[in-house]
């Protein structure tokens, strides 16, 4: 579990530190202050050198299609990663874990190791200048807790986008639930299946019990293939089971959240705009369920929100539990730098009671 994360030169963060982080972390702040970028930084760090995550985080931001000449593709994928779009900087993201080990990643553009001789964008074999056409490469360096490093290059050339050599296996699982993307029925069904299939009592999870806090009529869950698509269905006492997705956005969203947390045991789940699709009246129950699942599977959660009700509900849910392992982190721009202010239980309780702005 991370206890601190530092970021340099990534997106809007020139130099940034967030600490202490706890099991469940809620990130608040005004629009465009870096909430999503913070999640992206943690996601890249969890990847331990998986340079393909660079493409993924662009997709989360709506860059679904990548077309055009090579320079445009690099401009679209690479430059937005750097603070002030300055691709001469080196991105550094470091995390300190609760066992006090530190690991990190560095990303920079380096001169390419190959030169495209022909055909070229601007030069021809007859051109009289001596300059070459070296293709830049994005290099990701993963620094392990031992200090060893592993380098991966992202190459964008005529044959496409690839990372070489292949990335290391991530040390812990990590999932990013983006605001504009919902998990598919198939993803939810697969994750449900992984929980259902285990005979290890330590890995068993009573999803039904957790969902009943939001939909008390639920009696049973099952995965049923409908139209070729596996979907989790629920029995709410009707003549037939119905897909959870038809029982309201709140239940569907909670199901996705809990299954993701359960499948990220000993890892990290990143959730952008956690309150989306959730009515304020069930937020406290949602947080209770998230807390229980995070504890059960030793999963760390980082979520963002715009909602004061979400903050208050989270605080109430954790106050009612045995362990208040929750922190609110508010991001602010101060003198053009982004700074995180962390609330402990006492400060947050007082702020909510006094009706102070905490977002």
């Amino acid at each position: 579990m991370f206890t601190a994360i530092s970021i340099k030169n990534f997106r809007c963060f020139e130099e940034f530190l967030i600490e202490p982080t706890d099991r469940v972390n809620l990130i608040a702040g005004a629009n465009n202050v870096g909430k999503t970028a913070l999640l992206e930084a943690v996601f890249l760090l969890l990847g331990t050198g998986n340079i393909g995550l660079v493409v993924k985080i662009s997709a989360f931001r709506g860059v679904d299609e990548i077309k055009g000449d090579l320079a445009s593709i690099r401009e679209l994928l690479w430059n937005p990663l750097f603070f002030s779009f300055d691709n001469k900087r080196t991105i550094q993201i470091r995390g300190v874990s609760d066992n006090e080990t530190e690991h990190g990643i560095e990303i920079q553009l380096v001169p390419g190791t190959s030169v495209r001789l022909f055909p070229g964008d601007t030069s021809t074999p007859e051109a009289g200048d001596i300059s070459g056409n070296a293709e830049p490469t994005m290099q990701l360096r993963y620094i392990k807790p031992s200090g060893e490093t592993h380098r991966v290059n992202m190459v964008i050339d005529q044959s496409g986008i690839r990372g070489e050599p292949i990335s290391l296996e991530p040390a812990v699982p990590g999932f990013f639930l983006a605001a504009r993307h919902r998990t598919t029925h198939q993803e939810d069904a697969e994750r449900f299946g992984k929980l259902d299939v285990t005979t290890d009592p330590d890995k068993a999870y009573n999803l039904l019990k957790a969902l009943k806090t939001v939909e008390p009529r639920l009696k049973r869950l099952a995965t049923i293939v409908s139209g070729g698509i596996p979907m989790i269905h629920g029995d709410i006492g009707l003549a037939r089971m119905i897909p959870l997705s038809l029982m309201g956005d709140g239940l569907g969203r909670l199901t996705s959240l809990l299954l993701t947390i359960a499948n990220a045991s000993n890892g990290v789940v990143l959730i952008d705009e956690i309150e989306n699709g959730l009515h304020h009246s069930i937020l406290c129950k949602i947080w209770q369920a998230v807390h229980e699942a995070a504890h059960r599977f030793n999963t760390q959660v980082f979520a963002t929100t715009h909602s004061f009700e979400c903050v208050r509900a989270a605080h109430q849910a954790f106050e009612a539990s045995e362990d208040y392992d929750f922190r609110l982190h508010r991001l602010d721009r101060v003198d053009d730098k982004i700074r995180a202010t962390t609330y402990d239980q006492e400060a947050l309780a007082a702020a909510i009671k006094a009706d102070m702005e905490v977002r």
């Binding site: 602010d332 006492e346 400060a347 947050l348 009671k353 102070m356 702005e357």
Partner: protein, 202 residues
């Protein structure tokens, strides 16, 4: 639900309870002092948490002056220490005594009511200001009569006296703070000199 409060002024005056909030708001208005945001931190046990929350509130970095007003109750010395404990927990500067600002960012000052050496509260200070009002003779006779008839007096005599005094005004039934806006407390009384001096130095 009204939107949450933010820090709206570089000078913060933290007070104990709604009455104090309204009373001091009226006095600031009378003195034509602006640029001071009054925040009600609730009861005495809530000051510590409130200070912690205030220090992490957005905009706190711009606060240049922080003034805290609390009732002395039965031990003004213990009250002062309790406030200092709250400041310490929030990692804020701690003044050596009341009425004196300690340098820092923000500057911090503490005022205890009715003063640093006497037990009591805001009501005590207000009653001192109307001590010579003819109605106070009636107020005292009322409680003497009450004791004779009922055999006891209220547990908090200052609060009781104040309510009895306010019931003698043209518009009865007002709370302490509301009475301040109505002009029922004589702002020109020397009893309020220390409070005015404290507010001016924020």
């Amino acid at each position: 639900m009204p939107p949450p409060r933010g820090i709206t002024a570089a000078k913060q005056l933290l007070v104990e309870g709604k009455d104090a909030e309204v009373f001091l708001g009226a006095l600031l208005k009378h003195m034509e002092l602006t640029g001071i945001q009054i925040q009600n931190f609730g009861g005495k046990d809530e000051l510590r948490g409130f200070l912690k929350a205030l220090c992490v509130a957005s905009g706190f970095v711009d606060v240049i002056s922080l003034a805290i007003v609390r009732d002395a109750e039965i031990d003004p010395g213990a009250t002062f220490q309790s406030i200092c404990d709250g400041l310490r927990a929030a990692d804020l500067p701690i003044p050596e005594r009341t009425m004196v600002q300690v340098e820092g960012r923000p500057q911090v000052s503490i005022m205890i009511l009715p003063d640093a050496t006497t037990e009591g509260m805001l009501e005590t200070l207000c009653l001192r200001s109307v001590r010579d009002d003819p109605a106070m003779k009636c107020v005292e006779r009322y409680f003497e009569c009450l004791e004779q008839q009922v055999g006891s007096r209220p547990s908090n005599m200052d609060k009781a006296r104040l309510q009895a005094f306010l019931s003698s005004r043209a518009r009865p039934g007002l709370l302490l703070g509301q009475a301040a806006h109505r002009g029922y407390w004589p702002w020109g009384s020397p009893v309020f000199d220390q409070v005015k001096q404290f507010l001016q130095q924020i």
